[in-house]
Symmetry: D2
Subunit: 400 residues, 4 copies
């Protein structure tokens, strides 16, 4: 067995120390995230369907959901969707096994419905949003079964690349946590905040600017005064949250494109801009770690919707992130860590062609001090690669 693990010095500054840093996160109600979420829900549901019916996951990929925006007429106190959002679930799936027909289309639709009702509760399924499905059969040779027992490590069938980082910078942390908090804790008390929250963080030196675009839900906002209060409440909340993660100067702006004089504000019926003109698709938004980080290497591979048993790009993107997080949580002295995994066609996926951990150490720490520990952890996590598949199927890990 050869895992080809390399530990080396990362030949740049830690992102935390670079002069300019840009980070973005599209919240779960953003049209691209809706597609990611639907695609991944459908994927999980199909994995479960196959496990329930035939005891193993069969070939499928559902990573191409497309959203066509609708039209809405929002109004303070409650407007209406005029033309529904259209979502097309696209992909491949095995529809028959051992003579038994498998309800992949119905399962996909049910998964999409359940996901949407949880993620975008104001969106009425079937009238505000129409979901259709086009799942092809895939090619004959891809239809062979695999993953008889997911404990077996599958072979890499493609040259693919995954990259992960840890720890998050302050700006990355703020952007990520702000969206998560707004869409959970904050939303529980503030139903006027819709799930389409987009957060951009920009740091120049020691000043962090957080820009939030937050879709307000009209039924809970009675007029411009209440709207303004809602915006200010989000601003204050994010400002407070940011200060928990940094001592740098922080500035938060919310809905900067609003023009109160023109009556042009970010008001929606359903809490997502998909209701009015913003299309979306899978893999165009957040990377597997939930962020868009142009300062760091990123993989272009869409993670959401891919088959978690054998899609090497999905597995390596999630695994490299997991490796990076494990290393930095267990080993002290790492200021920035980048883990890259490159697959080798025809070899088990726990034996990558390249597995390198590139490190910026903290001041006073030498790479040699921690190299062996890092190597051990990378080795251990690679050995446990099938646990990534398990976590994905059970919904324990987010892909966007």
């Amino acid at each position: 067995m050869d895992r080809n693990i390399q530990v080396s010095r990362l030949d740049r500054q830690a992102v935390e120390d670079q002069e300019v840093e840009i980070v973005e996160r599209k919240g779960i109600g953003h049209p691209d995230s809706i597609c990611d979420g639907v695609a991944e829900s459908v994927s999980r549901a199909l994995s479960q369907l196959y496990l329930d019916r035939v005891g193993k996951v069969l070939h499928y990929n559902t990573d191409e959901t497309q959203l066509v925006a609708g039209r809405a007429a929002p109004a303070f106190g409650g407007g209406e969707v005029v033309e529904p959002i259209y979502i097309l679930i696209v992909g491949r799936a095995t529809k028959e096994y051992d003579g038994e027909q498998l309800p992949v289309d119905s399962t996909a639709l049910a998964a999409a419905r359940d996901y949407l009702s949880e993620a975008i509760p104001e969106l009425e399924y079937g009238t505000d949003v129409v979901v259709d499905v086009k799942l092809g059969e895939g090619s004959g040779d891809l239809q062979d079964v695999f993953g008889e027992e997911t404990q077996e490590v599958p072979m890499a069938n493609d040259t693919s690349f995954g990259v992960g980082h840890a720890p998050l910078t302050e700006t990355e942390t703020i952007v990520h946590e702000a969206e998560r908090a707004l869409n959970t804790t904050y939303h529980d008390d503030h139903p006027e905040l819709g799930p389409d929250v987009k957060i951009m963080g920009k740091r120049e030196g020691d000043r962090i600017d957080i820009t939030v675009a937050a879709a307000m839900v009209d039924a809970y906002v009675d007029g411009l005064g209440e709207y303004d209060d809602a915006v200010e409440s989000v601003r204050g909340y994010v400002d407070d949250l940011a200060r928990e993660y940094t001592d740098r100067e922080v500035n938060v702006d919310v809905n900067t494109a609003d023009d109160y004089d023109e009556g042009s504000v970010y008001l929606t019926v359903t809490g997502t801009s998909a209701e009015q003109g913003d299309d979306g698709s899978v893999g165009r938004g957040n990377r597997a770690n939930g962020l868009i980080t142009p300062n760091r290497p990123m993989s272009m591979e869409a993670t959401s919707g891919k088959n978690p048993v054998n899609h090497i790009g999905k597995i390596y993107n999630l695994l490299s992130t997991r490796v990076a997080e494990s290393v930095t949580s267990e080993v002290d002295g790492i200021r920035d860590l980048q883990v890259r995994l490159l697959s080798q066609i025809g070899r088990p996926i726990d034996e990558p062609h390249v597995a390198d951990a590139q490190i910026v150490t903290e001041e006073g720490v030498e790479l040699g001090d921690i190299e062996a520990d890092v190597l051990d952890i990378v080795d251990r996590e690679l050995a446990d690669v099938t646990d990534v598949t398990r976590s994905v199927i059970e919904g324990d890990v987010s892909t966007f």
Copy 2:
């Protein structure tokens, strides 16, 4: 005012007295009837929307719903839909009025959903059936408003033809009543009977053969024995019902295409053959009086989904039936009555080009004895033409 009413002798035998008679009714769960029902529900909902929002019915037509069958895997005790039914609502509607956007698409989808959940309750909206909508804007000149007050009689904008008959023959009555009873009273006690009930009646001389094709719902049928009981129960029920309406010889067959040895029976998951290979569309099934009667003149015009304010074909088909029924209920001595209305472009629709009532009198009755009464009733009903529109909008009259 000139209603051009003619009363004359019908130059053939009453259908009741002809040697061979054929009648058919497609029940509400038949794919063609599903389309009729969806189209008419959407039409009613749009009329209501326009009345609520702008005080008058605007231009629309929704008479082109298309159903693409799904795939299902029925099984005794409960199977599943594998591939959803796809329904496309097609038509034209006015989407904007006085600067206000009108939610015609969402309204259409909501109407379809509500109708389907009532008519085909076993069909889960959004997973067993996907409904999409393509409503165009229509041509500029058709977008002018009309029907400011539905009490005003609109002008005929087309040469169109409607025909109605009364009274129903015994065979017609049996076919019609059997489907209605099976899908209401009988179904209340027998959930195993699905709404896709197709009934064909054939009379040769004094023998009436009733053939019923009845979709059984698998969740309520545990095996072939129960299935056979369910079939026999339907047969007995229809046989009893038929005898209430005739003294002729009656023979009833149910699900004649079943082959128990091959295990080939009419078992469904949802109670409609649309789940498995039977497509449907508007205007291909029952005529406006609920029957298909090749022995009688019929209009090819689809009635369901048409705009009830100004679509002359729809109005005349419903009105001619209403006229025929009024005449035969109020005037004795009529064995068969056929009412034809032909519109005259550019004239108010209560002044048809031709309104003729052709009559086969009962033995001993002369046409002259009843002519004046008939003429009065036809005149009265024509004068009340806008009441047809009102009944349609309020859902008081069936169109298929």
Copy 3:
């Protein structure tokens, strides 16, 4: 062998002698006819595909084509299609046989393209009209092959009904021939006339009113003057043609809804009203004999797109018309003939349950004089039933 042939007196006047007669024909460019034509072309192409590839016609039905109208901006001298017409080919087909995949979808699309380019030449495929296809697999038991050799007479699998008439009345003849002539001979010299020609004939006593709605093609019409000439030219042509078939009083009107003052005329870019707001579907227009004849019994069954090997409704509609035409061309003294065929489930289709020929004889002719001849011809045509299938597959017979 029992053909159950009955010859009897038709208990009504010949349609030619009735006081009021209505006839309609939707030309090949009418939205409903476009659907009929596409559906039948697809059907023929699939029959040919199956014959070429596996030596027999497999199960299919393509009788549910739906057309959603587009939008156009016609203008004298040449306008443009703004939003394409959308055509969805719906049905069932066998997609795999003996392990070989059969290109049914591609074949259907190619057939539709070829048909449209011939029938509506001004319509550019792929930009003015988008054609998509949804052909399901059908149910398992319907997928069994049949028609091993089309010389074998298949069994009736349904109770179905066909009806045919001959000879055509003067009004019927004029309506039918006028559309055919306008769309062939006349069109060759007059490219400004589009294929969407709808003709309604109404006869009251001895006066025949012919109303033509004729879509003009804008590229060939430079202004209102030329348009008016084009309309007058059609009027004159139809007037002349009508007089060849009748000595009755004839009145012809063309495009009566035009309003020159308002600039509202029947001008189109492509020659069909489907470009602007008129939807269409199969089986809603002309019956199998090319006409809509409310004065006569009609079958509701769509003929176009049905499988010609085993769809009993299609076969009996075409066969009954063929029988009626053969009888009246070979036997003198018949003023009106109506042929009805009713199938018997489980019996070969050349042994119908009922095959009756009902006759109105000409003055001086007794039914007894011709009964034997009629019976022989009906018998001969029934024996030759498989020739209907052959003619349909080879495109020798029109279905709408």
Copy 4:
């Protein structure tokens, strides 16, 4: 005017000098590239339409094309497409201006057809591939016109980020040039090579591995021997080409997943894997410079299909690449250059919030030696920002 231009040292090794480098290019026939190409063609066509009709580019975005793969049955000597590829053009466009309807749907379809027939000539439009279009109207306030004269510099309406690099490394150059040469010069003499050529380059130290996946077109390949020759020919050609750009060790593999014993080779009917199971969408493949370069910062923004007049992400991605190329072509001594542009909402787009040029100089060159020259060039190119828009509309620049 403040362009905020900064020139600084890039705090990492040049990519050329890093130990491991990965580069990928999806050829024009790859499903994702097909979507990029269609989206960008549609965008160009709409820009032209607006310029022709109203003298300025109106609001639109067409960056969401979705491709659903078909099914094919390739065979040596010529197979066939069994189920067509389905492409849905999604986006927003202004459909009416000053009372005139603009044919955006038809224009989009025509652009897609023309692009496909050039890029994937074996793909028959309308039968092998069905293209449909869903272009919404967009929101009211986005429908205001803009770009009255494209010489005026528009305001940034979003915070967006673009990044460009130059010069390309040897590996990047080889990957890019190999695809371009295969799909032009080579293809001219070798029709058996389809446009779906995917090239991955991996460099470890001084060894470059080039892996080519090349779809062969079955009509031009008569058997496995010819296929093998075709593969070897591509290998040799790429090998020769690579050596023109590097002195490092080069290894080229073509179609490594082939298994001759199993008869499993990369044979297609149309030259693209979209014919059989590979879906695609916009923005999932090549970045604006034609490459996927995980070693370098990348923008997630899709460039293809975006409005080139006001979409700041598109403009900045193209402009930053153009700046980087200009600088390195005019200034000596640069080993690696990275240009980042960050927009500032509400400011003209030629006055970015950040415009930094980060440089790795060649040995012996100091940043100070070239700083002024670099600054001048960046300033000049920013001043000429509207030329990017012009180039895009005229099709002079590739976006993928």
